[in-house]
Symmetry: C2
Subunit: 119 residues, 2 copies
C-alpha cells in the first residue's frame, strides 16, 4: 500500500509512493515515468520514508536527469491514519512534483521489440 | 553540530537545526522564535532527520500556531559531507521557512519578571 505507482485519473502525470524498497528502485521508477513523457511525476511519502523521498528526488535530478527536470512546489501535510491496534495517529507526509524540461530520449525503433538502451 | 539554533548574520530570522532531540524540543524552539517576532524561522535538517523536520513544522502550524504561520517555499538539496572514516558522502537536506502572519502574543508586563503564560 505504501509502495505503489499509478497514473492519475486525468491521464496526465503519475505518482510514485516511496516505501520500504531500496532508494534506487524508486529512482528508476521515477526516471522511467519522466522519460515516458506522460507529464509531471509526484514523489510522495509518509513518516520515516520522507527522508528517502528527498533522496530519490535528489538522485534523479542530480545524477540521472541533471538539468532536465524542474522541481515543483513541495507540499507537506498531516494525515490521520488508523494504527494496527485501531488507534488514530497523525503522520506527516510530503509531495514533491517533478517535471521534465529537457528533450525526451528517442523512442525505440519500430519492430525491434527491444526497450531503448539505458542512457 | 546538527543541533543548534542561531540568528542570521543580518539579524532577521533564525535557523533551527533538527537533530537527535525529541520532536517537541524543536517544536518549542520554533514557536519561541516565531513568538519573538524576529522574522522568519527556517527549519533545517539533513538525512534521516528530514522526516522529523516535517513533523516539527506540522505540529507548529497545526497544533500551536494554527492559522498564524505561513509556509515558505520548501527547498531540498544535496550536501557533500566527510564521514568519520574520512570518506565523502552525499546527504540530502531540507529547509522549511516559516513566517508568522497572526499578531504576536502580548509581551510580559514590565517588572514582573515572569514569562507570558502559554496558550
Amino acid at each position: 500500500m505504501a509502495d505503489e505507482k499509478h497514473r492519475g485519473d486525468d491521464g496526465v502525470g503519475a505518482t510514485v509512493f516511496i516505501g520500504l524498497k531500496p532508494t534506487m528502485t524508486y529512482v528508476f521508477q521515477v526516471v522511467t515515468q519522466l522519460n515516458s513523457g506522460a507529464g509531471p511525476v509526484v514523489v510522495k511519502a509518509r513518516g520515516n520514508a520522507i527522508a528517502k523521498a528527498v533522496d530519490v528526488v535528489e538522485v534523479v535530478r542530480h545524477r540521472f536527469l541533471e538539468g532536465q527536470v524542474e522541481l515543483g512546489p513541495i507540499a507537506i501535510a498531516t494525515e490521520r491514519l488508523v494504527n494496527r491496534d485501531g488507534r488514530e495517529a497523525n503522520v506527516s507526509s510530503i509531495a514533491i512534483p517533478l517535471t521534465r524540461t529537457g528533450p525526451l530520449p528517442a523512442p525505440p525503433a519500430e519492430g525491434t521489440g527491444r526497450p531503448p538502451s539505458a542512457g
